[in-house]
Structures are given as structure tokens and as C-alpha cells.
Amino acid sequence: SLSDKLQGIFEKLRGKGRLNEKNIQEALKAIKMSLLEADVNYKVVKDFMKATKEKALGQDVLKSLTPAQQLIKIVYDELARIMGESASELILNVNPPSVVMLVGLQGSGKTTHAAKLAKMLKKLGKKPLLVAGDIYRPAAVKQIQVLGEQIGVDVFSMGTKLSVPDIVKGAMAFAKDNEIDVVLVDTAGRLHIDDTLMVELEDVKKVCTPDEIMLVVDAMTGQEAVTVAKEFDDRLDITGLILTKLDGDARGGAALSIKYVTGKPIKFIGVGEKLNAIEVFHPDRIAQRILG
């Protein structure tokens, strides 16, 4: 682990007399490499290490009796500070129906998490409605219908021939007529650089004025996480993120990068394929995982 590595570095230095700025470099390099190994964005790591180094020198880690522990604490505190102080709640409208839109790259887990949120909301006594907003992917409508059936939640679909904004308009009317509490709009996966499809999302946003626009991001995403998140955020003003597939062994550095660059909170994490595999996000837990 990183803390073992740092212990080793400082023990080796102990014999060499006073610690100085030069030999803290090895410790700082170990921290930098650990963050890069966790897929944290290169530029974010640079900024982070600059702040860490200043703190380390400022707090005179070098004079400490336990420099490794103190340095780990500085890094961990800084990570936790960036990730946010506590878990964020789902924004629900005082005047129903509340609307949650799920967006993101292809295959990130949007459809699955629309259903997971629906199941969660149903358990909390709310009446959710799933909207089949993916008219492109083969059997996408069928997929969300099967999931809706599994959890006993209605799925609104108008097939694949109408435009997505028209379908969502229909869904909003249906929701109002049927006393729906929360409308969950699943959308097709798309590239952040596909202007036509990004405009489609902007049009859907206009039609349903969402309370939440959740960017669904795969925890194994590498360096490009920042570019993707920034583009979705710039165009849609996302309100939060769902980080998926955290039941794997990806370190999840994308979480730190995205939070650092967009400031938007991660609200939920996906921890499995089953529809109950969703948890509220806890910033301190991911800090530990990213540090390694």
C-alpha cells in the first residue's frame, strides 16, 4: 500500500541524518505515482502534488517523529476535501413529478442505474416512472421494459420512430396525469464530441426541466474522464454523477479528476449488476481506494 511505501522511504532516510527538502522528493514521487496508477488525471495530479508539497513543507513533516503518517494524513485530508464533505442527496422537487435524466458515454451503465434508482425510490414509497429514451441501440426499449417488469415500475415508451424530445414530452404528460412522483429519463449512450446527439440532450432538458442530470461514468475510465465530464457539464450543467462498476478492482481515480475539475458531486455508486446494487456515495471511502 502507499502508506507502507512511504514508511519504507522515510525509514531508509532516517539513518541518513536530517530529513531535507531533497529527500522528501522520493516520498512525493511515490504519492504521485500512486495517484497516476489510480488513473487520476495527469493535470489534476500535478496540481494536487503542488498543494501537497506546499503543505508537507509548511507543516514541517520533516521535523516530525512520524513523517510517513503525517504525509499520508496530509494527502488523505486533501483528497477527502476535494471529494466533498459528505454524501449528497437526490434532489427531489417539492412539486411532483421530479425529473432525473441519466446521460453518459456508451456502455457506462445508464439503463441499469435508471432501474436501480427506480427500485430505490419505490422502496422509499415513491411512484417512479422509467422513460425509454434510447431509440437507437438494438433492443434498448426491450431492455428497460424487462428491468421495469423485474421491479414493478412502469416504463413509458413511444417506440423508436418519434424523436426523443417528443417521447419525453409524452412522458411528462403521462406523469402528470398518473400522479408520478419521479420521472427517470434513460438516454442513449453517446460521445461527448457528437454534436447532434449532445444537442438532443439539450432539447430533452428543455422539454422536461430536470431536477437532476446525472452523468453516469464507468469507474474504470482513464485519463479522458475529465474531457468527457467537462463537455457534458458545460453543455448540460449536470447536477451529479453515478460512478458505476465499483464492484470491480478499478481504483476509480476518475472520481477525483471529475470532482476536481467540475466541482459536481458523485451521488451514487454502482456495485453490481443486480438492481439492488446501488449505494449512496461516501467521499472518504473512495479517497482510501484511490490512494491505494
Binding site: E37, Y42, S108, G109, K142, Q223, V228
Partner: protein, 278 residues
């Protein structure tokens, strides 16, 4: 690569930035920087243009110079299995491969080996209809190994040229799911001992260093023959395949560059390296 004209700290930092931001990863970067410094010192390379050429050359050495195609058996059934973690593009890639081989005049059959995920069988069926080929499928929730056994038997009996086997996405960390995949492989071998002739890992180009874990575990458990790098039409460079080739010797055979049936190309190392360094 910037303005420095020798291997100084500034140049090394630029190199580090290229290698990390293209997802070559820390381990891949460390190996490449070692190669780099050895060779550059030996050849006394001082000009920065030469340094960039040297980097290209190192990539070429790692990735090999020419494309490594999917091996087809002449006159006999070729069994190709697609595996990988969730959402990487396996099912879509099978649709594209089916089209490619149909266009070459080959007879193709699909096996709906994902019996778990909602509408997985329906999704593959749409592709079978689009491309015009047979598909062996049973009810969702059934035993994947049973479907695959029947599909290999049917493909052999009906004298098909190519059988494409779709499997459910699974995280490499799930032991029971990896065991299921091993079972699928065993039943294939019951029908044709040499099959599957190709076991391809679908890897999403946006994936970071976890891709190495994925490749390592899938390779250890079921013997991969290559990778298909998908979603390269995005902005991610997919540099992790360099680290995977270096470490596991697994080549990228095809790349996915979109969601349409024609968006599948043979992997060309030179084009890939150009794009990495652009």
C-alpha cells in the same frame, strides 16, 4: 513533443505527459522510458525530432509492424468467442464481425451466450436479422454453456464457416463468473478440441490501467488470442494496449470506431501510433 533538444528533465517530463495522458499507464511508461534512455544514450541522440522518432520506433517494436488478423480456418469451421467486462462492446462487435464475414461470402452463425442480462438475446437477434445469419438462442436465464454447446454442434453440422459466440459481460474479479466462462470453453472443446480458434477480449478504449488487470485475468483463465479495442471513435487514445502487449504479448486484432455495422477495422499499428502521438 516540445522544444527540448536533448534528454533533459524537461524532455522526460514531456514524454511522461504523452505516455500518461494517452493511457499507456505508469508501468508502461516506466518500461518505455527505460528503453528510451538506454537506446538514446547508445545512439547519442540529441535532436528532439530524433527523440520523437525513437519513441515511435519503440512503440513499433512493442506493437509489431504489421497487423495481426483474426485467423480463419480454411474450409473448416472457425469458432470465435468474444469476452470482456460489462459494456465494452462485445455484442455490437459480433454484429460487425458477422457483417464483415457475410460480405466476404462466408456463412456465419451466432450463439447467444449471454443468457443473463436483460434483452441481451433480443439485442443479438437484431444483429442476426440485420446481417442475415442464423442464431442459436434459448430462453433468457438458461445455462450459457448449454446454448454454446448446441451452437457449436449446429454450426459444425450445418457446415458453417464462422461461429461467433457472444458471452455476458463480467468483471474479471468475479470468480464464479470466470468459472462459468471456463465451463463454456470446456464445452466448446467437447465438440471441437481445437476451438475456440480465437478468444478475443473486447476492451473499451476509454479504460485506464484496469485494462491490464482485465487482460491478465481473462488471459490466465481462458487463454486469449487477442484484443478488440472498441470506441476508438471517442477521444480516448487506448494507449493501454501498448502496456498489455508489452506485458502479456496480446495483440490488438480489430478496432471498433462507431456504433454502425461497418465501424470495424483491422488494427494498424502505424496508424495507431500516429494517433497516439498526434
Amino acid at each position: 513533443v516540445g522544444k527540448s533538444h536533448k534528454i533533459d528533465d524537461e524532455f522526460l517530463e514531456e514524454l511522461e505527459e504523452i505516455l500518461i495522458t494517452t493511457d499507456v499507464g505508469v508501468k508502461g511508461m516506466t518500461n518505455i522510458l527505460e528503453h528510451f534512455q538506454e537506446i538514446a544514450e547508445m545512439e547519442e541522440i540529441q535532436d528532439h525530432r530524433e527523440l520523437l522518432d525513437l519513441l515511435k520506433e519503440i512503440f513499433h517494436v512493442i506493437l509489431d509492424d504489421k497487423p495481426v488478423p483474426i485467423k480463419l480456418n480454411d474450409g473448416e469451421l472457425t469458432v470465435i468467442m468474444l469476452v470482456g467486462v460489462n459494456g465494452t462492446g462485445k455484442t455490437t462487435t459480433i454484429g460487425k464481425l458477422a457483417k464483415k464475414y457475410r460480405d466476404q461470402g462466408k456463412s456465419v452463425m451466432l450463439a447467444a451466450g449471454d443468457t443473463f442480462r436483460a434483452a441481451a438475446i433480443e439485442q443479438l437477434t437484431v444483429w442476426a436479422n440485420r446481417v442475415g445469419c442464423d442464431i442459436i438462442k434459448y430462453e433468457s436465464g438458461g445455462d450459457a454453456a448449454a446454448v454454446v454447446f448446441d451452437a457449436v454442434t449446429a454450426a459444425k453440422a450445418r457446415k458453417k464457416d464462422i461461429l461467433l459466440i457472444d458471452t455476458a459481460g463480467r468483471l474479471h474479479t468475479k470468480v464464479n463468473l470466470m468459472e462459468e466462462l471456463k465451463k463454456v470453453r470446456r464445452v466448446i472443446k467437447k465438440v471441437i478440441p481445437d476451438a475456440p480458434h480465437e478468444t478475443l477480449l473486447a476492451l473499451d478504449a476509454t479504460t485506464g490501467q484496469n485494462a491490464v488487470n482485465q487482460a491478465a485475468v481473462f488471459h490466465k483463465e481462458i487463454d486469449l488470442t487477442g484484443l478488440i479495442l472498441t470506441k476508438l471513435d471517442g477521444t480516448a487514445k487506448g494507449g493501454i494496449v501498448v502496456a498489455i502487449k508489452e506485458e502479456l504479448k496480446l495483440p490488438v486484432k480489430m478496432i471498433g470506431v462507431g456504433e454502425k455495422v461497418q465501424d470495424l477495422h483491422v488494427f494498424d499499428p502505424s496508424e495507431f501510433i500516429e494517433a497516439l502521438l498526434s
